[in-house]
């Protein structure tokens, strides 16, 4: 097994173009587990921990750009206001040790439906910035996941960063697991209210082959909220309930070792109702 350790993004891209099979390695919380379990045996590893620019985040034009290697611990500490959904999701990732190592770039690279950071990125229409020796691309998050653990990266590309609009409204994330910490999602849900555009965004985790948005639920709720953004009052029960049903209906879960498909649908409806109740209450508070 070859082991490369570039010290700049340009060098990393060069190595990736010369060794397209090299597996990028950063926090190692997915890759090393796979190697230890003998699930994969890459010919080469591309260690990105020496590439400083991947560890930086910045704000521009009411957006944040979060480097692919920025650890969850940093997101929790520094991005709770700008990207609250992502920050709440980051708090649910693994253990403190894993949050110190793991990063959004890893979640995107693994493209597991259970990646905790992915539903909130869907809910805010994030954009994935990729880089190669010859090209830089921006891939909308909704086009990024192609199948179970498959994404839109080309073999010579690396994930450089993810871009998200600075939150214009309340955001939430909730995840069901059978342990009260350090647990992989049985299912998860993220909701972002965008009062500025009059839309809502959603993201569902661990309940389909890929993370996905509940678009029908978004359309329904956006329409229901159209006349309610200003001077907001509590939402009628039937709206909240219907939103939950539509979110559950958007999922295509399976039975597996972590839970049953029926339970996942049931839980998603509840998470959708609760996160809507929380975000809308927060919207009302802010409006007062």
């Amino acid at each position: 097994m070859e082991f490369f350790r570039p010290t700049s993004l340009a060098e990393a891209c060069q190595l990736k173009s010369e060794h397209p099979d090299a597996v990028p390695l950063c926090g190692g919380t997915d890759v090393m587990v796979d190697i230890n379990f003998d699930r994969r045996r890459p010919d080469a590893l591309l260690d990105l921990t020496g590439v400083r620019e991947l560890y930086e985040w910045s704000r521009y034009d009411s957006h944040v750009r979060v480097g692919a290697a920025v650890p969850y611990t940093t997101i929790i500490k520094e991005l709770s206001a700008d990207a609250p959904g992502l920050a709440i999701a980051s708090r649910t990732v693994g253990s403190p040790q894993i949050r110190n190592r793991g990063s959004v770039g890893g979640n995107l690279g693994s493209a597991s439906p259970a990646g905790d950071a992915l539903p909130p990125l869907l809910a805010v229409d994030a954009v994935v910035e990729t880089v190669s020796a010859t090209n830089r691309r921006r891939i909308p998050i909704h086009e990024f996941f192609l199948g179970p653990k498959r994404n839109a990266l080309q073999p010579d590309e690396l994930i450089a960063a993810v871009h998200a609009p600075v939150a214009g409204g309340p955001q939430q994330f909730a995840k069901v697991g059978t342990r009260n910490a350090m647990v992989i999602a049985v299912c998860s849900f993220s909701l972002a209210l965008h009062p500025d555009t009059g839309r809502v965004g959603t993201g569902i985790g661990s309940a389909a082959p890929t993370p996905l948005a509940a678009t029908q639920a978004e359309d329904f709720l956006s329409a229901e909220l159209a006349d309610r953004w200003t001077g907001p009052a509590e939402l009628p029960d039937d709206v909240v309930r219907r939103f939950g049903e539509l979110v559950a209906g958007a999922a295509s879960p399976i039975d597996d070792v972590r839970g049953t498909a029926d339970y996942r649908r049931h839980a998603l409806a509840i998470l959708a109702r609760r996160t809507l109740t929380w975000t809308w209450a927060e919207h009302i508070r802010r409006a007062q």
Binding site: F37, K175, A267, I270
Partner: protein, 781 residues
């Protein structure tokens, strides 16, 4: 420097104190050497090829491709086993390496030694084994020819006959042991109030953090030295001797650092394999299982199917208990007979029951072998009988505390085996004390402390509080006529003019604190503060197993007896030096009971060291009558009770245990801090069984052999505890002590389940509870 002339009346660091454990600092700072840290220059690494099938005939094994890989020194099969091809704790039926047939997924088939662990694993993967897959027997009911699990009143003899017809996992049929308990007149008796229930316990894993590992070093005399993490050095050696065809004295075992045990190290794992490879290659061989392999490399807790019927009068006083308990022992015998013994004899719990009809079976299937785990037999049964006691309480209008105190055994009670409890049995007092403890405050404001924890699933929605109680009973030490003893060598000598004691036993420290307590006993008995506990090895006689909550009792008893022998010799010297009289040894001094301090212990050692080796036994027990279960089978009983307070998100089916309160009688708290540690740890393991820990097996295959999906409680799951420790001396045991380690594991599970039932209103019949069970009503529309 001033010399104190004050005479202390106690020796510091003795029994009843909590001196710092010698391995403590090293463990918390990461410096402690565990068995997986062993290293020797020039050593090879062993690896194991395991069966991918739960059941298959082996038609051929081709090791050629593996042998061709550079760096490989040996590739061995069952043909290379020097001696007996099978081993076992009680019954030798488990192949060292599979021959003819594999009976569970993960059964070892081929072992490899190579110069690098990765090379060894690659080589193992190159071995070609041809299997003819056979349909496995995976349902224990089916295994005994009884797929319908017919009602309690069935004629049990029928099952035995039927089991012969069902494709047997083993040639002699699928029943490992069937133990009947017949007490009073269980068949004819009737009662005004009857409650029934079916209960199921999933397969829990011990999940110790230090995987199976050790280092085998070939010796010049043709023997082998093995450094290994285990629970009983001498029983390992006995089994190894048969498999390796070496006399026991040519197999020397030294205990390596043990990273937890909980029963999972009672059976052999890599011991014989590493020695076979070392003897074949003439080089040291190290084996370390990976985390995933560890799930295949040791036995698990027996899953149980239980059917109980309790009859009582209208006041709630028990009239009879009828029960069937079916324990899935998996592919090989391991400890199943003892598990059946415990489940049957303790199967009605710590209650006075005038009529008992109990049938308990341990059976073979092609599921993973099950054997020892903390509280075995008693854990499974307690979930059944405590669920029943709550049902009975509801039926007669009593509280959980009232139904238990009303029926509680006490000293003098006769158990269903006919054995009389001849030491304190403060079951009612445990319940009263629990009841008197204050309850925790209302639902927490910190959302991380609500069900779902840090996953942010509720801000209070759907959360209901519940409280539950349970009490359990456990036998301490080996039962049913087993010759249960330990050996201690105690030596006192001058080291740099100071009296110093060396305690040497083969008893295994698994993290519970045995090393500390042995030193405490020696300090108290010999009045010397400088005590060293030698590494456990086979250079001294057997210490017996570190299991059944027995080591402080039995090896503690042996150390005390060894010290007593040494003390007698010292008193002879004292009489010669100071004249006849009665003496005692305290804080380095020799005291005459008449004249006070007469000299230093050091002065008695000028003539040289004193050393004695003693064997010590607890009082004998008897086997159980097969047909009736009569017999004084147990040495001692231990009792522990829990109150659990839980918050349940009844919409999502998520649980957070808010508080566990516990009262346990330990007879004598030899080391109060260690006692609390056992109670906390045991309670946590019981919590795990209640709400999350399960090895999921489908069609004989493990679905979650990793810590990704075999979940154990984190600090966010394990709540603060209120603990009260009672010290009601057992007149038959050393210092009056009772075994401590297992009882808290037994009652914490049913207490938590009772609390979840109270919070949710759901009639839960199975552990671990899964969210689907709690929201089942909402899912079936």
């Amino acid at each position: 420097m001033t010399v104190s002339t004050e005479v202390r009346n106690r020796t510091a660091g003795g029994i009843g104190e909590s001196p710092v454990r010698p391995d403590g600092t090293f463990k918390v700072t990461g410096q402690f050497a565990y068995s997986s840290d062993l290293w020797m220059d020039g050593m090879l690494w062993g690896a194991t090829l395991r069966s991918p099938h739960p059941r298959a005939r082996i038609t051929s094994i081709d090791v050629g491709p593996a042998l061709k890989l550079a760096g490989v020194s040996a590739v061995l099969t069952h043909d290379d086993v020097p001696g007996e091809k099978v081993y076992g704790l009680e019954i030798a039926d488990q192949p060292v390496l599979a021959f003819d047939e594999v009976r569970y997924q993960g059964e070892p088939v081929v072992i490899v030694a190579a110069d690098h662990p990765e090379t060894a694993r690659r080589a193992a993967a190159l071995v070609v084994v041809d299997y003819e897959v056979v349909e496995p027997v995976t349902d224990p009911r089916e295994a005994v020819g009884h797929p319908d699990w017919k009602p309690v009143h069935d004629e049990p003899g029928e099952r035995t006959a039927m089991s012969r017809d069902r494709a047997p996992v083993h040639p002699h049929g699928n029943i490992v042991r069937h133990q009947r308990i017949r007490f009073g007149d269980p068949d004819a008796v009737t009662a005004d109030v009857v409650v029934q229930g079916d209960y199921e316990v999933g397969m829990q894993d011990q999940a110790f953090l230090g995987p199976e590992s050790g280092l085998a070093v070939p010796a010049d005399d043709g023997g082998v030295d093995l450094y290994v993490a285990t629970q009983w050095l001498h029983v390992d050696r006995r089994q190894m001797s048969g498999a390796l065809a070496l006399p026991e004295e040519k197999i020397r075992l030294t205990l390596a650092g043990v990273g937890g045990a909980f029963g999972a190290r009672e059976d052999l794992s890599m011991q014989v394999h590493a020695c076979m490879l070392a003897l074949r290659t003439g080089r040291p061989v190290k084996m370390v299982y990976s985390r995933e392999e560890s799930f295949f490399g040791h036995v698990h807790r027996h899953p149980a199917l239980m059917r109980y019927e309790h009859g009582a009068d209208r006041d709630g006083r028990l009239v009879y208990v009828r029960a069937h308990i079916l324990l899935d022992g998996g592919a090989y015998t391991s400890s199943t007979p003892a598990v059946v013994g415990n489940a049957s004899t303790l199967g009605v719990g710590p209650y006075d029951v005038p009529n008992v009809g109990m049938d308990c079976w341990g059976v073979y299937t092609n599921n993973p072998p099950c054997g020892a785990m903390r509280g075995f037999g008693a854990v499974q049964a307690a979930f059944g009988y405590e669920s029943q006691m709550d049902k009975l309480a509801a039926a007669v209008g009593l509280s959980p505390v009232e139904i238990r105190t009303l029926n509680a055994v006490s000293e003098g009670s006769i158990l269903p085996t006919g054995q009389r409890i001849d030491s304190p049995a403060p079951v009612a007092e445990l319940m009263h004390r629990l009841d008197a403890m204050p309850l925790p405050g209302s639902v927490d404001q910190d959302i991380r402390l609500l069900p779902g924890g840090v996953s942010n699933t509720t801000h209070g929605e759907g959360v209901r509080r519940g409280v539950g109680y349970a009490v359990g009973i456990k036998n301490v030490g080996f039962s049913e006529g087993f010759d249960d003893y330990s050996t201690a060598r105690v030596r006192i000598e001058l080291v740099g003019d100071e009296p110093s004691v060396l305690v040497h036993t083969a008893a295994v420290e698994v993290g519970q604190g045995l090393v500390t307590v042995q030193a405490q006993i020696a300090r108290s008995e010999l009045g010397v503060e400088r005590v060293t506990v030698a590494a456990a090895d086979t250079q001294v006689g057997s210490g017996g197993s570190t299991s059944a909550s027995r080591q402080t009792y039995v090896t503690g008893g042996a150390v005390r007896a060894g010290c007593a022998a040494v003390r007698s010799s010292l008193f002879e010297r004292a009489a010669a030096r100071y004249g006849p009289g009665e003496f005692r040894l305290v804080a380095g001094k020799v005291e005459s009971l008449v004249d006070g301090v007469v000299g230093d212990i050091a002065s008695l050692l000028l003539d040289g060291p004193v050393e004695h080796t003693v064997q010590w036994r607890h009082r004998p027990t008897q086997p159980l009558d097969e047909a009736t279960g009569r017999g004084n089978a147990h040495v001692q009983w231990a009792f522990c009770a829990h109150r659990a307070v839980v918050d349940v998100d009844v919409e999502l089916g998520l649980i957070r245990v808010v508080e566990l309160a516990c009262v346990q009688d330990v007879g004598k708290a030899m080391n109060p801090d260690a006692v609390l540690g056992q109670i906390h740890g045991g309670s946590a393991q019981g919590l795990g069984l209640a709400v999350m820990e399960e090895v999921q097996v489908v069609d004989g295959k493990l679905r979650n052999p990793s810590f990704t999906d075999y979940l154990m409680p984190t600090i966010m799951d394990m709540p603060p505890m209120r603990v009260e420790v009672l010290e009601l001396a057992d007149p038959h045991s050393p210092y009056g002590l009772r075994g401590v380690g297992e009882p808290p594991t037994i009652s914490s599970t049913p207490a938590i389940v009772a609390a979840v039932r109270a919070a949710s209103g759901v009639d839960l019949k199975r552990v671990p509870i899964r969210p689907e069970h709690l929201v089942a009503a909402a899912l079936c529309h």
